[in-house]
């Protein structure tokens, strides 16, 4: 008899472990998705190069660890301002030119950017798999029948903190309000005297800083290679659509849902099924609640 189908008192450890895995995997997805939901939600740009900035963050952590023996958590202090600058630069050089163009043009541009960045990484650092192995990546925490990795717990904690900070920033600061206003109606915002170009630049820079830092944080958990970003980026679109565009808390909850579907689906039905489950969920949300599970005005206009 398949033990996966018998849930009795002896299975409490299993339930505890699946719950812990869901939460921790959800943390990693949230970390990647918050930057995307910001750019997607406010600029209405589908950034296909999102995964490549994640990859660049992973390489930053790798080189800092290999050359200077810097722990990824220290690199975080460098990565946030560094990726903010990178984001600003890419916005000025690439995104500004297509911000008013059609979605097709934006998609071609960001896919082009994605391919270019992957190949730059391939040429500069070869296609080899690289590893970051700080002391905390092999520390195992055991509690109440569940076991997890310290690096994963830290990634989750930071994801939670980051989500809260962005949520607070969007909700309670003037700039945040201005960003939301721009997201809801770009033309009206312009009429109110908002410099939308500056807002977009800021949004893109914050989004890239988030995803770059996410790359640094997950580097102890996953191997670093030029196409590492592709492993996560498709999922973050599902998360963003589930949670509602530009909704930080929605992204967090969406991440937990996707991770839960993945973990529980893999356990009960087999790994081969997990993508079917969350893409059915994805299509379901698009059909029945196009604004996301928690809704946001204006999201429907995106026409994803």
């Amino acid at each position: 008899m398949d033990p996966a189908r018998t849930l009795g008192p002896a299975q409490i450890d299993v339930v505890a472990q699946l719950a812990a895995s869901t939460v921790l995997l959800g943390g990693i997805y949230a970390l990647i998705a918050v930057g995307l939901t910001l750019i997607f939600g406010i600029m209405r740009v589908v950034n296909f190069a999102h995964g490549e900035f994640l990859m660049l963050g992973m390489y930053l952590a790798f080189w800092a660890f290999t050359i200077f023996s810097l722990d990824p958590y220290l690199v975080l202090f460098v990565s946030i301002p560094l990726f903010f600058l990178v984001g600003t630069g890419i916005y000025v050089l690439v995104m500004r030119g297509v911000i008013n163009a059609s979605h097709n043009v934006q998609i071609f541009t960001t896919v082009g950017l994605s391919t270019a960045l992957q190949n730059v990484a391939l040429v500069a650092w070869t296609g080899d798999f690289r590893f970051v192995r700080p002391w905390h990546s092999s520390v195992i925490i055991r509690s109440g029948g569940a076991a997890f990795n310290l690096s994963q717990v830290v990634a989750f904690a930071i994801a939670l903190a980051l989500t809260f900070c962005l949520f607070a920033f969007m909700k309670w600061t003037h700039t945040g309000r201005v960003m939301r206003a721009t997201a809801q109606d770009r033309d009206a915002a312009t009429l109110m005297g908002i410099d939308t170009d500056r807002i977009y630049r800021l949004t893109f820079a914050i989004g890239i800083a988030c995803v770059g830092s996410a790359g640094v944080l997950i580097s102890p958990l996953y191997q670093v290679y030029p196409t590492a970003g592709l492993q996560f980026v498709l999922l973050s679109y599902v998360v963003v659509v589930l949670g509602g565009l530009g909704d930080m808390v929605g992204a967090m909850i969406g991440s937990l849902i996707v991770a839960g579907v993945e973990v529980i689906g893999s356990y009960f039905f087999g790994t081969a099924w997990k993508e079917i489950f969350y893409f059915v969920l994805f299509i379901g949300v698009l059909v029945f609640r196009p604004a996301g599970l928690f809704g946001q005005r204006g999201a429907e206009t995106l026409g994803v």
């Binding site: 996966a4 895995s21 798999f129 076991a147 996953y222 592709l230 996560f232 973990v263 529980i264 356990y267």
Partner: protein
């Protein structure tokens, strides 16, 4: 008018000569040369590996010529660039019709060998494959195709052989008492190896299959659910075909979950078979078995004297050319081409019926070829699993070392059964 006629005559003559040119070249027998077609991907995404095969063919061709050539003639190549399946088929046709070859060898990749050999078979030309592992290659009932390497199902065959003949006795168990959990990435390679292993494990040894799971390696970010499930099923052996990152992730998360099994067995140069596995995990990666080409520990003296001599000569020539010791791909191509010489010398002709009966009558024991293989072809043109000796390697202290078959190696397998995770140093 006369002028025009003269020009037309000159043009026609030139054209005639141009067309006749290749045909003139196609009669090398008169000049003491014997030409075969060599098809490898020399440009494009597969070229990286194709060039290694080509290097090995050229090194082996020179060795053959230094030892009397083939059928007393100098062996020469007509080379075709098989970038993709379409090019493989059209280049095969070109080699046959324009270069007039009666034998084609190549093409290393499983994506190419099917198309190339199909084209050769249509023209009734012998196709001598030295490397591709697609099982379908030898299942098409073609009388003109032969393969010196085992196919993907052979890897599954060997892994089960190792589990039944080596691991089971060391666990003090009968093969039919063993519980095996199968886990594999879902490419055609992973599925081919795993399915053939499942069949042999069940039908021949009556092993108990407790799970069979496939996953997409590029989008699996967490193996915990599988590890938790396997932990409850309590298998003795985990049969895992991995592709890259998935090997490291599964192994690391098994350790986190304190999932204890007696052995893990993999096949191929990816996943556990890649040097990256050791780099990522160091001593924490000690224990997994990998079916691959031999590495440290191999006892060369177990080969036949002539095979030892050839292995050394070939190794030096490859090193002089590429700066490195021969890789698996070099050995596959080199020994495959040598075997073709052996067949041609015995058959004394490239005429299909005679060639085929010579191939089928060859019976060389393990240790006869430069990579330690033996030869015994089946009716379908496939060299036998038992003769195409593959080796089991194990990760020991951050290095993959040869541990099986024991008579061919000086190093012994450790940690059988694996035991607690922190006691594998």
């Amino acid at each position: 008018m006369r002028m025009r006629a003269a020009i037309a005559l000159v043009l026609a003559a030139t054209l005639g000569l141009a067309l006749a040119g290749p045909r003139l070249q196609a009669q090398p027998a008169l000049s003491g040369e014997y030409k075969i077609g060599v098809l490898e991907p020399l440009t494009g995404s597969l070229a990286f590996e194709g060039k290694r095969h080509m290097d090995a063919y050229e090194v082996m061709r020179d060795m053959i010529n230094a030892q009397g050539g083939v059928m007393g003639k100098k062996l020469v190549f007509a080379v075709g660039d098989a970038t993709d399946p379409t090019a493989a088929a059209s280049e095969a046709t070109r080699l046959i019709t324009r270069e007039g070859v009666k034998i084609i060898t190549g093409t290393y990749s499983s994506t190419l060998c099917g198309a190339a050999s199909e084209a050769a078979a249509r023209a009734n030309v012998i196709y001598w494959e030295t490397s591709c592992v697609d099982p379908r290659f030898s299942q098409r009932g073609l009388k003109t195709v032969f393969r010196t390497e085992i196919d993907g199902t052979g890897f599954g065959w060997y892994n089960i052989q190792f589990i039944a003949k080596h691991l089971a006795p060391r666990f003090n168990m009968q093969p039919n008492q063993l519980k095996v959990a199968f886990l594999s990435e879902d490419s055609s390679y992973g599925q081919g190896v795993t399915e053939s292993a499942r069949r042999r494990a069940k039908q021949e040894f009556g092993m108990q299959e407790v799970a069979a799971e496939y996953y997409a390696f590029a989008s699996t970010n967490d193996f915990t659910p599988i590890v938790v499930k396997f932990k409850q099923l309590n298998p003795d052996v985990v049969f895992h075909i991995a592709r890259g990152n998935d090997a490291v992730l599964f192994w690391r998360q098994s350790r986190e979950q304190n999932f204890l099994f007696k052995a893990l067995v993999h096949a191929g140069a990816t996943g556990y078979g890649s040097a990256d596995f050791g780099k990522a995990l160091g001593n924490d990666g000690n224990g997994p078995f990998v079916l691959a080409e031999p590495s440290a520990g191999l006892k060369l003296e177990m080969f036949k004297p002539e095979a030892q001599k050839m292995e050394r000569e070939f190794g030096e020539a490859i090193k002089a050319r590429s700066g490195d010791l021969p890789l698996a791909s070099h050995r596959l191509a080199g020994s495959g081409l040598w075997l073709l010489k052996v067949v041609l010398d015995q058959a004394k002709t490239d005429e299909l019926e005679k060639f085929r009966s010579t191939v089928l009558s060859l019976d060389l024991p393990v240790g006869s070829m430069l990579n330690g293989w033996g030869v015994k072809f089946a009716e379908n043109g496939q060299n036998a699993n038992e003769r195409v000796q593959h080796y089991m390697l194990q990760w020991q202290n951050g290095q993959m070392v040869t541990v099986w078959p024991e008579e061919f190696t000086s190093i012994r397998a450790k940690w059988i059964p694996l035991g607690p995770w922190d006691q594998r140093k």
